[in-house]
Protein backbone atom coordinates (compact mmCIF):
# COMPACT_ATOMS: atom_id res chain seq x y z
CA UNK A 1 0.00 0.00 0.00
CA UNK A 2 1.04 3.60 -0.58
CA UNK A 3 -0.24 4.52 2.88
CA UNK A 4 3.10 4.67 4.68
CA UNK A 5 4.72 6.49 1.82
CA UNK A 6 1.93 9.04 1.84
CA UNK A 7 2.18 9.61 5.57
CA UNK A 8 5.94 10.05 5.27
CA UNK A 9 5.50 12.46 2.39
CA UNK A 10 2.89 14.50 4.25
CA UNK A 11 5.13 14.74 7.30
CA UNK A 12 8.13 15.80 5.22
CA UNK A 13 6.10 18.41 3.37
CA UNK A 14 4.68 19.56 6.68
CA UNK A 15 8.12 19.93 8.26
CA UNK A 16 9.37 21.79 5.22
CA UNK A 17 6.41 24.16 5.43
CA UNK A 18 7.09 24.71 9.13
CA UNK A 19 10.62 25.76 8.38
CA UNK A 20 10.15 27.58 5.08
CA UNK A 21 6.87 29.48 5.46
CA UNK A 22 7.91 31.67 8.40
CA UNK A 23 10.82 32.92 6.31
CA UNK A 24 8.45 34.66 3.92
CA UNK A 25 5.32 35.50 5.90
CA UNK A 26 4.85 36.36 9.55
CA UNK A 27 3.62 33.46 11.67
CA UNK A 28 0.63 35.38 12.91
CA UNK A 29 -0.78 35.45 9.38
CA UNK A 30 0.34 31.89 8.72
CA UNK A 31 -1.57 30.70 11.76
CA UNK A 32 -4.83 32.09 10.46
CA UNK A 33 -4.13 30.57 7.05
CA UNK A 34 -3.77 27.17 8.74
CA UNK A 35 -7.05 27.79 10.54
CA UNK A 36 -8.78 28.71 7.28
CA UNK A 37 -7.26 25.64 5.66
CA UNK A 38 -8.82 23.45 8.36
CA UNK A 39 -12.17 25.10 7.81
CA UNK A 40 -11.84 24.67 4.04
CA UNK A 41 -10.88 21.06 4.61
CA UNK A 42 -14.02 20.46 6.65
CA UNK A 43 -16.24 21.69 3.84
CA UNK A 44 -14.12 19.99 1.18
CA UNK A 45 -14.63 16.75 3.03
CA UNK A 46 -18.40 16.84 3.35
CA UNK A 47 -18.99 18.45 -0.03
CA UNK A 48 -16.38 16.78 -2.21
CA UNK A 49 -16.61 13.33 -0.67
CA UNK A 50 -19.97 13.25 1.04
CA UNK A 51 -21.83 15.12 -1.69
CA UNK A 52 -23.35 17.45 0.93
CA UNK A 53 -23.24 21.10 -0.08
CA UNK A 54 -23.46 23.04 3.14
CA UNK A 55 -24.03 26.78 2.73
CA UNK A 56 -23.53 27.28 6.41
CA UNK A 57 -20.22 25.72 7.35
CA UNK A 58 -19.46 28.92 9.25
CA UNK A 59 -22.06 27.83 11.77
CA UNK A 60 -19.86 25.04 13.07
CA UNK A 61 -16.77 27.21 12.89
CA UNK A 62 -18.50 29.79 15.05
CA UNK A 63 -19.92 27.16 17.38
CA UNK A 64 -16.41 25.78 17.93
CA UNK A 65 -15.07 29.23 18.71
CA UNK A 66 -17.93 30.07 21.06
CA UNK A 67 -17.84 26.64 22.71
CA UNK A 68 -14.15 27.15 23.42
CA UNK A 69 -14.57 30.68 24.74
CA UNK A 70 -17.52 29.79 26.96
CA UNK A 71 -15.90 26.63 28.31
CA UNK A 72 -12.58 28.36 28.89
CA UNK A 73 -14.22 31.09 30.94
CA UNK A 74 -16.09 28.54 33.01
CA UNK A 75 -13.25 26.09 33.56
CA UNK A 76 -10.36 28.52 33.60
CA UNK A 77 -8.20 25.88 31.91
CA UNK A 78 -7.72 25.48 28.15
CA UNK A 79 -7.58 21.77 27.38
CA UNK A 80 -11.01 20.53 28.38
CA UNK A 81 -12.50 23.45 26.38
CA UNK A 82 -10.29 22.45 23.46
CA UNK A 83 -12.03 19.09 23.20
CA UNK A 84 -15.42 20.54 24.01
CA UNK A 85 -14.93 22.89 21.05
CA UNK A 86 -14.66 19.86 18.78
CA UNK A 87 -17.35 17.73 20.35
CA UNK A 88 -20.08 20.35 20.68
CA UNK A 89 -20.16 21.37 16.99
CA UNK A 90 -19.91 17.72 15.97
CA UNK A 91 -22.91 16.84 18.13
CA UNK A 92 -24.92 19.81 16.93
CA UNK A 93 -24.02 18.91 13.34
CA UNK A 94 -25.15 15.35 14.03
CA UNK A 95 -28.50 16.46 15.41
CA UNK A 96 -29.14 19.13 12.77
CA UNK A 97 -27.77 16.95 9.95
CA UNK A 98 -29.84 14.03 11.18
CA UNK A 99 -32.93 16.18 11.01
CA UNK A 100 -32.14 17.13 7.43
CA UNK A 101 -31.04 13.77 6.14
CA UNK A 102 -33.74 11.77 7.88
CA UNK A 103 -36.14 14.20 6.23
CA UNK A 104 -34.50 13.26 2.91
CA UNK A 105 -33.65 16.84 2.07
CA UNK A 106 -31.27 17.41 -0.78
CA UNK A 107 -29.79 19.95 -3.14
CA UNK A 108 -31.14 23.42 -2.93
CA UNK A 109 -33.32 22.64 0.08
CA UNK A 110 -30.29 21.47 1.97
CA UNK A 111 -28.52 24.65 0.94
CA UNK A 112 -31.41 26.80 2.17
CA UNK A 113 -31.69 25.11 5.51
CA UNK A 114 -27.98 25.13 6.27
CA UNK A 115 -27.99 28.81 5.36
CA UNK A 116 -30.98 29.44 7.60
CA UNK A 117 -29.28 27.57 10.43
CA UNK A 118 -26.31 29.92 10.23
CA UNK A 119 -28.59 32.94 10.05
CA UNK A 120 -30.48 31.88 13.15
CA UNK A 121 -27.22 31.53 15.09
CA UNK A 122 -26.01 34.86 13.74
CA UNK A 123 -29.18 36.68 14.70
CA UNK A 124 -29.37 34.98 18.05
CA UNK A 125 -25.78 35.70 19.00
CA UNK A 126 -26.30 39.32 18.06
CA UNK A 127 -29.09 39.81 20.59
CA UNK A 128 -27.30 38.32 23.56
CA UNK A 129 -25.88 41.59 24.87
CA UNK A 130 -28.26 41.64 27.81
CA UNK A 131 -27.08 40.35 31.17
CA UNK A 132 -29.58 37.49 31.21
CA UNK A 133 -27.67 35.71 28.44
CA UNK A 134 -25.15 33.83 30.53
CA UNK A 135 -23.78 30.33 30.26
CA UNK A 136 -22.17 29.50 33.58
CA UNK A 137 -19.81 32.36 34.22
CA UNK A 138 -19.63 33.45 30.58
CA UNK A 139 -21.63 36.38 29.26
CA UNK A 140 -22.47 35.88 25.59
CA UNK A 141 -21.94 39.59 24.99
CA UNK A 142 -24.07 40.01 21.84
CA UNK A 143 -22.56 42.00 19.02
CA UNK A 144 -19.35 42.67 20.92
CA UNK A 145 -18.69 38.99 21.49
CA UNK A 146 -16.66 37.37 24.23
CA UNK A 147 -13.15 38.62 24.95
CA UNK A 148 -10.74 37.74 27.69
CA UNK A 149 -10.83 33.94 27.97
CA UNK A 150 -7.96 31.65 28.85
CA UNK A 151 -5.98 30.62 25.75
CA UNK A 152 -4.09 27.40 25.11
CA UNK A 153 -1.02 26.73 27.20
CA UNK A 154 1.29 23.78 27.70
CA UNK A 155 -0.56 21.05 29.60
CA UNK A 156 2.37 20.58 31.99
CA UNK A 157 3.07 24.26 32.43
CA UNK A 158 -0.05 26.45 32.35
CA UNK A 159 2.00 29.65 32.53
CA UNK A 160 3.63 28.87 29.18
CA UNK A 161 1.08 30.06 26.61
CA UNK A 162 0.91 28.61 23.11
CA UNK A 163 0.83 31.76 21.07
CA UNK A 164 2.75 33.49 18.31
CA UNK A 165 5.16 31.09 16.64
CA UNK A 166 4.17 28.12 18.73
CA UNK A 167 0.49 28.59 17.89
CA UNK A 168 1.46 28.41 14.23
CA UNK A 169 3.39 25.17 14.70
CA UNK A 170 0.54 23.79 16.75
CA UNK A 171 -2.06 24.73 14.11
CA UNK A 172 0.00 23.38 11.24
CA UNK A 173 0.53 20.12 13.11
CA UNK A 174 -3.19 19.80 13.72
CA UNK A 175 -3.87 20.56 10.07
CA UNK A 176 -1.51 17.77 9.01
CA UNK A 177 -3.03 15.36 11.52
CA UNK A 178 -6.57 16.11 10.37
CA UNK A 179 -5.48 15.80 6.74
CA UNK A 180 -3.93 12.39 7.38
CA UNK A 181 -6.90 11.36 9.48
CA UNK A 182 -9.35 12.19 6.71
CA UNK A 183 -7.17 10.43 4.14
CA UNK A 184 -7.19 7.36 6.30
CA UNK A 185 -10.93 7.65 6.80
CA UNK A 186 -11.53 7.88 3.07
CA UNK A 187 -9.56 4.71 2.52
CA UNK A 188 -11.38 2.85 5.26
CA UNK A 189 -14.56 0.91 4.47
CA UNK A 190 -16.61 3.77 5.87
CA UNK A 191 -14.89 6.18 3.51
CA UNK A 192 -15.67 3.98 0.56
CA UNK A 193 -19.29 3.70 1.56
CA UNK A 194 -19.36 7.46 1.88
CA UNK A 195 -18.03 7.87 -1.65
CA UNK A 196 -20.50 5.26 -2.80
CA UNK A 197 -23.31 7.32 -1.30
CA UNK A 198 -22.02 10.41 -3.06
CA UNK A 199 -21.95 8.54 -6.36
CA UNK A 200 -25.38 7.00 -6.10
CA UNK A 201 -27.57 7.27 -3.06
CA UNK A 202 -30.22 4.91 -4.33
CA UNK A 203 -27.73 2.19 -5.06
CA UNK A 204 -26.06 2.53 -1.69
CA UNK A 205 -29.49 2.27 -0.16
CA UNK A 206 -30.35 -0.79 -2.22
CA UNK A 207 -27.12 -2.37 -1.04
CA UNK A 208 -28.53 -2.04 2.45
CA UNK A 209 -26.58 0.99 3.64
CA UNK A 210 -28.52 3.50 5.68
CA UNK A 211 -27.69 6.56 3.62
CA UNK A 212 -29.21 8.90 6.20
CA UNK A 213 -26.86 7.63 8.89
CA UNK A 214 -23.83 7.78 6.61
CA UNK A 215 -24.56 11.37 5.64
CA UNK A 216 -25.28 12.38 9.21
CA UNK A 217 -21.96 10.89 10.29
CA UNK A 218 -20.10 12.66 7.50
CA UNK A 219 -21.79 15.93 8.39
CA UNK A 220 -20.89 15.48 12.06
CA UNK A 221 -17.23 14.81 11.22
CA UNK A 222 -17.19 17.94 9.07
CA UNK A 223 -18.79 19.84 11.95
CA UNK A 224 -16.10 18.59 14.33
CA UNK A 225 -13.26 19.65 12.04
CA UNK A 226 -14.88 23.05 11.53
CA UNK A 227 -15.24 23.27 15.31
CA UNK A 228 -11.54 22.55 15.78
CA UNK A 229 -10.81 25.30 13.30
CA UNK A 230 -13.06 27.67 15.23
CA UNK A 231 -11.36 26.72 18.48
CA UNK A 232 -7.96 27.61 17.05
CA UNK A 233 -9.42 30.81 15.69
CA UNK A 234 -10.65 31.77 19.14
CA UNK A 235 -7.13 31.20 20.46
CA UNK A 236 -5.63 33.21 17.66
CA UNK A 237 -7.96 36.20 17.79
CA UNK A 238 -8.47 36.05 21.58
CA UNK A 239 -12.04 37.22 21.01
CA UNK A 240 -15.10 35.61 19.46
CA UNK A 241 -17.87 37.68 17.87
CA UNK A 242 -21.13 36.84 16.06
CA UNK A 243 -19.45 37.73 12.77
CA UNK A 244 -18.01 34.23 12.81
CA UNK A 245 -21.52 33.09 11.86
CA UNK A 246 -21.98 35.64 9.09
CA UNK A 247 -23.03 34.86 5.54
CA UNK A 248 -19.76 36.33 4.33
CA UNK A 249 -17.81 33.79 6.34
CA UNK A 250 -19.85 30.93 4.86
CA UNK A 251 -19.36 32.34 1.38
CA UNK A 252 -15.63 32.51 1.85
CA UNK A 253 -15.35 28.84 2.80
CA UNK A 254 -17.21 27.88 -0.34
CA UNK A 255 -14.95 30.11 -2.43
CA UNK A 256 -11.86 28.43 -0.98
CA UNK A 257 -13.16 24.97 -1.79
CA UNK A 258 -14.18 25.91 -5.32
CA UNK A 259 -10.96 27.69 -6.10
CA UNK A 260 -8.89 24.86 -4.68
CA UNK A 261 -11.05 22.10 -6.11
CA UNK A 262 -13.84 20.07 -4.53
CA UNK A 263 -13.34 16.34 -4.68
CA UNK A 264 -9.81 16.49 -3.33
CA UNK A 265 -8.58 17.03 0.20
CA UNK A 266 -5.56 19.05 -0.77
CA UNK A 267 -7.52 21.44 -2.99
CA UNK A 268 -9.53 23.13 -0.22
CA UNK A 269 -6.36 23.58 1.84
CA UNK A 270 -4.63 25.20 -1.09
CA UNK A 271 -7.70 27.31 -1.89
CA UNK A 272 -8.00 28.55 1.68
CA UNK A 273 -4.32 29.42 1.85
CA UNK A 274 -4.28 31.23 -1.49
CA UNK A 275 -7.49 33.15 -0.97
CA UNK A 276 -6.72 33.90 2.68
CA UNK A 277 -3.35 35.34 1.73
CA UNK A 278 -4.81 37.21 -1.22
CA UNK A 279 -7.33 38.80 1.12
CA UNK A 280 -4.54 39.78 3.46
CA UNK A 281 -2.56 41.35 0.62
CA UNK A 282 -5.61 43.15 -0.71
CA UNK A 283 -6.14 44.58 2.77
CA UNK A 284 -2.92 46.51 2.43
CA UNK A 285 -4.08 48.51 -0.55
CA UNK A 286 -7.16 50.64 -1.03
CA UNK A 287 -7.34 50.95 -4.80
CA UNK A 288 -9.67 48.03 -5.40
CA UNK A 289 -12.36 46.87 -3.04
CA UNK A 290 -11.55 43.57 -1.38
CA UNK A 291 -15.04 42.10 -1.77
CA UNK A 292 -15.05 42.92 -5.46
CA UNK A 293 -11.94 40.84 -6.06
CA UNK A 294 -13.27 37.91 -4.03
CA UNK A 295 -16.51 37.99 -5.98
CA UNK A 296 -14.74 38.19 -9.32
CA UNK A 297 -12.55 35.24 -8.37
CA UNK A 298 -15.60 33.16 -7.48
CA UNK A 299 -17.43 33.99 -10.71
CA UNK A 300 -14.38 33.26 -12.84
CA UNK A 301 -13.62 30.07 -10.94
CA UNK A 302 -17.11 28.72 -11.54
CA UNK A 303 -17.05 29.68 -15.22
CA UNK A 304 -13.49 28.82 -16.17
CA UNK A 305 -12.12 26.43 -13.58
CA UNK A 306 -15.11 24.46 -12.40
CA UNK A 307 -12.88 21.71 -11.05
CA UNK A 308 -10.63 24.03 -9.11
CA UNK A 309 -6.93 24.73 -9.24
CA UNK A 310 -5.54 21.61 -7.62
CA UNK A 311 -6.98 19.02 -10.04
CA UNK A 312 -5.80 21.13 -12.95
CA UNK A 313 -2.28 21.27 -11.53
CA UNK A 314 -2.19 17.53 -10.92
CA UNK A 315 -3.48 16.89 -14.43
CA UNK A 316 -0.77 19.08 -15.92
CA UNK A 317 1.78 17.39 -13.75
CA UNK A 318 0.76 13.85 -14.62
CA UNK A 319 0.57 14.69 -18.27
CA UNK A 320 4.01 16.20 -18.34
CA UNK A 321 5.64 13.50 -16.28
CA UNK A 322 3.55 10.93 -18.12
CA UNK A 323 3.30 8.39 -15.40
CA UNK A 324 1.25 6.19 -17.67
CA UNK A 325 -2.39 5.34 -17.88
CA UNK A 326 -3.04 4.47 -14.30
CA UNK A 327 -1.92 7.70 -12.79
CA UNK A 328 -3.81 9.69 -15.37
CA UNK A 329 -6.96 7.81 -14.92
CA UNK A 330 -6.83 8.11 -11.18
CA UNK A 331 -6.25 11.79 -11.09
CA UNK A 332 -8.93 12.51 -13.60
CA UNK A 333 -11.32 10.40 -11.65
CA UNK A 334 -10.58 12.18 -8.43
CA UNK A 335 -10.78 15.50 -10.14
CA UNK A 336 -14.12 14.95 -11.72
CA UNK A 337 -16.55 17.58 -10.75
CA UNK A 338 -18.46 16.57 -7.69
CA UNK A 339 -20.39 19.74 -7.38
CA UNK A 340 -23.14 18.79 -9.75
CA UNK A 341 -23.32 15.20 -8.57
CA UNK A 342 -26.79 15.55 -7.23
CA UNK A 343 -27.98 17.61 -10.19
CA UNK A 344 -27.03 15.03 -12.72
CA UNK A 345 -29.63 12.60 -11.49
Amino acid sequence: MGGLKEIALTIIVGLLLMVLLPLGVDTFTLTVLCIYALLGLSLGFIWGFGGILCFGQAAFFGLGAYAYAIAAINFGTPWAPFFIAIIVPALIAAVFGGMLFFGRLNDVYLAVLTLVFTLILYKFMNVTAGENYVIGKARLGGYNGIPGFETLSLPWDPSEYIYGDSLFYFSLTLLLLVFLGLRWLLKSPFGRVMIGVRENELRAELMGYDVRMVKTAVFAIGGGVAGLSGCLYANWAEIVTPNLFSLGQSAEVIIWVIVGGAGTLFGPILGAAIMGYLKFLLGQQSLIDNTLVMGAVLVLAVLLLPRGIFPVITDLFTRRVGRGKKANRKSSRRGRRRREGSDAK
Binding site: G196, N200, L202, A204, L206, G208, D210
Partner: protein, 239 residues
Protein backbone atom coordinates in the same frame (compact mmCIF):
# COMPACT_ATOMS: atom_id res chain seq x y z
CA UNK B 1 -42.60 -26.62 1.76
CA UNK B 2 -44.98 -26.33 -1.14
CA UNK B 3 -47.03 -23.56 0.42
CA UNK B 4 -44.10 -21.58 1.77
CA UNK B 5 -45.25 -18.07 0.84
CA UNK B 6 -42.35 -15.58 1.03
CA UNK B 7 -43.88 -12.50 -0.56
CA UNK B 8 -47.47 -11.45 -0.31
CA UNK B 9 -49.24 -8.32 -1.45
CA UNK B 10 -52.64 -7.60 0.12
CA UNK B 11 -54.99 -5.15 -1.57
CA UNK B 12 -52.07 -3.04 -2.65
CA UNK B 13 -53.21 0.33 -4.06
CA UNK B 14 -51.14 3.28 -5.29
CA UNK B 15 -52.61 6.56 -6.44
CA UNK B 16 -50.75 9.54 -7.87
CA UNK B 17 -52.80 12.73 -7.96
CA UNK B 18 -55.99 10.88 -8.74
CA UNK B 19 -54.44 8.46 -11.22
CA UNK B 20 -54.66 4.88 -9.99
CA UNK B 21 -51.38 3.10 -10.72
CA UNK B 22 -52.15 -0.01 -8.69
CA UNK B 23 -55.67 -1.07 -7.88
CA UNK B 24 -56.17 -3.63 -5.11
CA UNK B 25 -53.43 -5.97 -6.23
CA UNK B 26 -53.14 -9.30 -4.46
CA UNK B 27 -50.19 -11.49 -5.22
CA UNK B 28 -48.41 -14.39 -3.56
CA UNK B 29 -44.99 -15.76 -4.26
CA UNK B 30 -43.56 -19.10 -3.11
CA UNK B 31 -40.04 -19.80 -2.05
CA UNK B 32 -37.64 -20.52 -4.91
CA UNK B 33 -40.17 -19.45 -7.49
CA UNK B 34 -39.15 -17.49 -10.57
CA UNK B 35 -41.97 -15.10 -11.27
CA UNK B 36 -42.20 -12.82 -14.27
CA UNK B 37 -44.33 -9.70 -14.14
CA UNK B 38 -45.39 -8.50 -17.55
CA UNK B 39 -47.77 -6.00 -19.01
CA UNK B 40 -47.77 -2.99 -21.31
CA UNK B 41 -46.37 0.36 -20.22
CA UNK B 42 -48.32 1.90 -17.39
CA UNK B 43 -49.86 -1.43 -16.43
CA UNK B 44 -48.54 -1.10 -12.89
CA UNK B 45 -45.85 -3.76 -12.89
CA UNK B 46 -43.03 -1.28 -12.19
CA UNK B 47 -45.09 0.43 -9.50
CA UNK B 48 -45.64 -2.92 -7.88
CA UNK B 49 -41.92 -3.57 -8.11
CA UNK B 50 -41.16 -0.25 -6.45
CA UNK B 51 -43.58 -0.93 -3.62
CA UNK B 52 -41.83 -4.20 -2.96
CA UNK B 53 -38.38 -2.59 -3.18
CA UNK B 54 -39.29 0.20 -0.77
CA UNK B 55 -38.99 2.87 -3.43
CA UNK B 56 -42.71 3.66 -3.36
CA UNK B 57 -45.04 3.85 -0.40
CA UNK B 58 -48.47 2.38 -1.27
CA UNK B 59 -51.56 4.47 -0.67
CA UNK B 60 -53.21 1.51 1.01
CA UNK B 61 -52.76 -2.21 1.38
CA UNK B 62 -49.91 -4.23 2.75
CA UNK B 63 -46.72 -5.84 1.55
CA UNK B 64 -45.53 -8.81 3.55
CA UNK B 65 -42.14 -10.46 3.19
CA UNK B 66 -41.62 -13.62 5.19
CA UNK B 67 -44.34 -12.75 7.69
CA UNK B 68 -42.90 -9.26 8.21
CA UNK B 69 -45.04 -6.33 7.13
CA UNK B 70 -42.67 -4.23 5.02
CA UNK B 71 -45.12 -1.58 3.85
CA UNK B 72 -43.39 1.79 3.95
CA UNK B 73 -39.95 0.38 4.67
CA UNK B 74 -37.03 2.37 3.28
CA UNK B 75 -35.06 0.58 0.55
CA UNK B 76 -32.13 -0.09 2.87
CA UNK B 77 -34.34 -1.96 5.30
CA UNK B 78 -35.74 -4.02 2.46
CA UNK B 79 -32.19 -4.74 1.34
CA UNK B 80 -31.22 -5.76 4.86
CA UNK B 81 -33.90 -8.46 4.75
CA UNK B 82 -31.64 -10.16 2.23
CA UNK B 83 -33.35 -8.85 -0.87
CA UNK B 84 -31.27 -7.89 -3.91
CA UNK B 85 -32.71 -5.25 -6.20
CA UNK B 86 -31.81 -4.23 -9.75
CA UNK B 87 -33.59 -1.12 -10.93
CA UNK B 88 -34.94 -0.32 -14.38
CA UNK B 89 -32.30 2.26 -15.30
CA UNK B 90 -29.04 0.71 -14.14
CA UNK B 91 -28.27 2.20 -10.74
CA UNK B 92 -24.52 1.93 -10.30
CA UNK B 93 -21.88 4.16 -8.77
CA UNK B 94 -20.50 5.89 -11.81
CA UNK B 95 -17.32 7.36 -10.41
CA UNK B 96 -16.17 4.06 -8.92
CA UNK B 97 -14.62 1.04 -10.60
CA UNK B 98 -16.47 -2.19 -11.28
CA UNK B 99 -14.48 -3.79 -8.49
CA UNK B 100 -15.31 -1.04 -6.00
CA UNK B 101 -19.00 -1.20 -6.90
CA UNK B 102 -19.27 -4.89 -6.21
CA UNK B 103 -16.97 -4.70 -3.19
CA UNK B 104 -19.20 -2.12 -1.51
CA UNK B 105 -22.17 -4.44 -1.88
CA UNK B 106 -20.27 -7.38 -0.41
CA UNK B 107 -18.65 -5.37 2.38
CA UNK B 108 -21.91 -4.44 4.05
CA UNK B 109 -22.32 -7.86 5.56
CA UNK B 110 -18.80 -9.26 5.30
CA UNK B 111 -15.32 -8.44 6.57
CA UNK B 112 -12.97 -6.72 4.16
CA UNK B 113 -11.08 -9.94 3.46
CA UNK B 114 -14.20 -11.99 2.77
CA UNK B 115 -15.62 -9.20 0.64
CA UNK B 116 -12.52 -9.27 -1.56
CA UNK B 117 -13.06 -13.00 -2.06
CA UNK B 118 -16.71 -12.54 -2.94
CA UNK B 119 -15.85 -9.85 -5.49
CA UNK B 120 -13.33 -12.13 -7.21
CA UNK B 121 -15.93 -14.90 -7.35
CA UNK B 122 -18.58 -12.67 -8.88
CA UNK B 123 -16.21 -11.07 -11.37
CA UNK B 124 -15.40 -14.55 -12.55
CA UNK B 125 -19.01 -15.75 -12.60
CA UNK B 126 -20.15 -12.76 -14.66
CA UNK B 127 -16.98 -12.68 -16.77
CA UNK B 128 -16.24 -9.10 -15.74
CA UNK B 129 -12.59 -9.73 -14.86
CA UNK B 130 -11.21 -7.60 -17.71
CA UNK B 131 -13.31 -4.62 -16.73
CA UNK B 132 -12.79 -4.77 -12.99
CA UNK B 133 -10.46 -1.77 -12.76
CA UNK B 134 -12.45 0.50 -15.09
CA UNK B 135 -14.77 3.25 -13.97
CA UNK B 136 -18.35 2.13 -14.41
CA UNK B 137 -19.10 5.39 -16.17
CA UNK B 138 -16.89 4.30 -19.07
CA UNK B 139 -18.88 1.11 -19.70
CA UNK B 140 -21.55 0.43 -22.31
CA UNK B 141 -25.16 0.13 -21.22
CA UNK B 142 -25.22 -3.65 -21.36
CA UNK B 143 -22.06 -3.96 -19.32
CA UNK B 144 -23.52 -1.69 -16.71
CA UNK B 145 -26.56 -3.96 -16.49
CA UNK B 146 -24.24 -6.89 -15.79
CA UNK B 147 -22.29 -4.90 -13.21
CA UNK B 148 -25.51 -4.07 -11.46
CA UNK B 149 -26.41 -7.72 -11.42
CA UNK B 150 -23.01 -8.37 -9.85
CA UNK B 151 -23.78 -5.81 -7.17
CA UNK B 152 -27.06 -7.57 -6.46
CA UNK B 153 -25.38 -10.96 -6.22
CA UNK B 154 -22.62 -9.68 -3.95
CA UNK B 155 -25.17 -9.10 -1.21
CA UNK B 156 -25.93 -12.86 -1.29
CA UNK B 157 -29.71 -12.33 -1.46
CA UNK B 158 -32.35 -15.04 -1.02
CA UNK B 159 -34.85 -12.93 -2.94
CA UNK B 160 -33.81 -11.13 -6.11
CA UNK B 161 -35.87 -8.43 -7.80
CA UNK B 162 -34.90 -7.56 -11.38
CA UNK B 163 -36.52 -4.71 -13.31
CA UNK B 164 -36.04 -5.16 -17.07
CA UNK B 165 -32.71 -6.98 -16.87
CA UNK B 166 -32.57 -7.60 -20.60
CA UNK B 167 -33.15 -4.03 -21.72
CA UNK B 168 -30.36 -2.80 -23.97
CA UNK B 169 -28.39 -6.04 -23.96
CA UNK B 170 -26.72 -7.51 -27.03
CA UNK B 171 -27.56 -11.06 -28.11
CA UNK B 172 -24.58 -12.54 -26.31
CA UNK B 173 -25.29 -10.61 -23.20
CA UNK B 174 -28.93 -11.71 -23.18
CA UNK B 175 -27.79 -15.27 -23.25
CA UNK B 176 -25.41 -14.67 -20.38
CA UNK B 177 -28.18 -12.96 -18.45
CA UNK B 178 -30.54 -15.91 -19.02
CA UNK B 179 -27.94 -18.31 -17.69
CA UNK B 180 -27.21 -16.20 -14.66
CA UNK B 181 -30.88 -15.85 -13.85
CA UNK B 182 -31.36 -19.59 -14.06
CA UNK B 183 -28.32 -20.10 -11.90
CA UNK B 184 -29.62 -17.67 -9.28
CA UNK B 185 -32.93 -19.44 -9.24
CA UNK B 186 -31.16 -22.57 -8.01
CA UNK B 187 -30.85 -21.02 -4.59
CA UNK B 188 -32.97 -17.87 -4.57
CA UNK B 189 -36.46 -16.65 -5.29
CA UNK B 190 -36.73 -14.27 -8.24
CA UNK B 191 -39.13 -11.64 -9.45
CA UNK B 192 -38.41 -10.36 -12.95
CA UNK B 193 -40.25 -7.44 -14.51
CA UNK B 194 -39.86 -7.53 -18.25
CA UNK B 195 -41.73 -6.89 -21.45
CA UNK B 196 -39.41 -8.58 -23.91
CA UNK B 197 -41.50 -11.69 -24.75
CA UNK B 198 -38.59 -13.48 -26.30
CA UNK B 199 -36.61 -13.16 -23.11
CA UNK B 200 -39.54 -14.21 -20.95
CA UNK B 201 -40.03 -17.35 -22.97
CA UNK B 202 -36.48 -18.36 -22.13
CA UNK B 203 -36.72 -17.99 -18.38
CA UNK B 204 -40.28 -17.93 -17.18
CA UNK B 205 -42.29 -20.52 -15.34
CA UNK B 206 -45.12 -18.57 -13.71
CA UNK B 207 -46.17 -15.26 -15.22
CA UNK B 208 -48.36 -12.50 -13.76
CA UNK B 209 -49.85 -10.11 -16.29
CA UNK B 210 -50.67 -6.57 -15.15
CA UNK B 211 -53.18 -4.43 -16.95
CA UNK B 212 -54.45 -1.02 -15.92
CA UNK B 213 -53.19 -1.42 -12.38
CA UNK B 214 -54.77 -4.83 -11.82
CA UNK B 215 -53.65 -8.44 -12.13
CA UNK B 216 -55.15 -9.64 -15.39
CA UNK B 217 -54.07 -13.24 -15.27
CA UNK B 218 -51.62 -15.38 -13.38
CA UNK B 219 -50.71 -18.69 -15.06
CA UNK B 220 -47.76 -20.66 -16.36
CA UNK B 221 -45.90 -19.11 -19.23
CA UNK B 222 -47.35 -21.11 -22.11
CA UNK B 223 -50.92 -20.52 -21.04
CA UNK B 224 -50.33 -16.83 -20.65
CA UNK B 225 -48.60 -16.36 -23.96
CA UNK B 226 -51.32 -18.18 -25.85
CA UNK B 227 -54.11 -16.32 -24.08
CA UNK B 228 -56.07 -14.15 -26.52
CA UNK B 229 -56.86 -11.49 -23.93
CA UNK B 230 -53.19 -11.06 -23.16
CA UNK B 231 -52.50 -10.72 -26.86
CA UNK B 232 -55.17 -8.04 -27.14
CA UNK B 233 -53.78 -6.15 -24.24
CA UNK B 234 -50.37 -6.10 -25.78
CA UNK B 235 -51.49 -5.44 -29.33
CA UNK B 236 -54.05 -2.90 -28.28
CA UNK B 237 -51.61 -0.89 -26.27
CA UNK B 238 -48.36 -1.30 -28.07
CA UNK B 239 -46.43 -3.52 -30.45
Amino acid sequence: MLNDIVVEARDLTVRFDGVVALDNVNLKLQRNELRCLIGPNGAGKSTFFKCLAGMQVPTSGEMIVEAEVTTGYDPFRIARLGIGIKTQVPSVMDGLTVHENIWLAARRTQSTRKANGIVDDILERLKLGDLSRLDVSTLAHGQRQIVELGIVLAGDPWLVLLDEPAAGLTGDEVERMVNVIKEINDYATLIVVEHDMHFIRQIAKMVTVFHQGRVLIEEDVDTVLSDPIVRDVYLGKRR
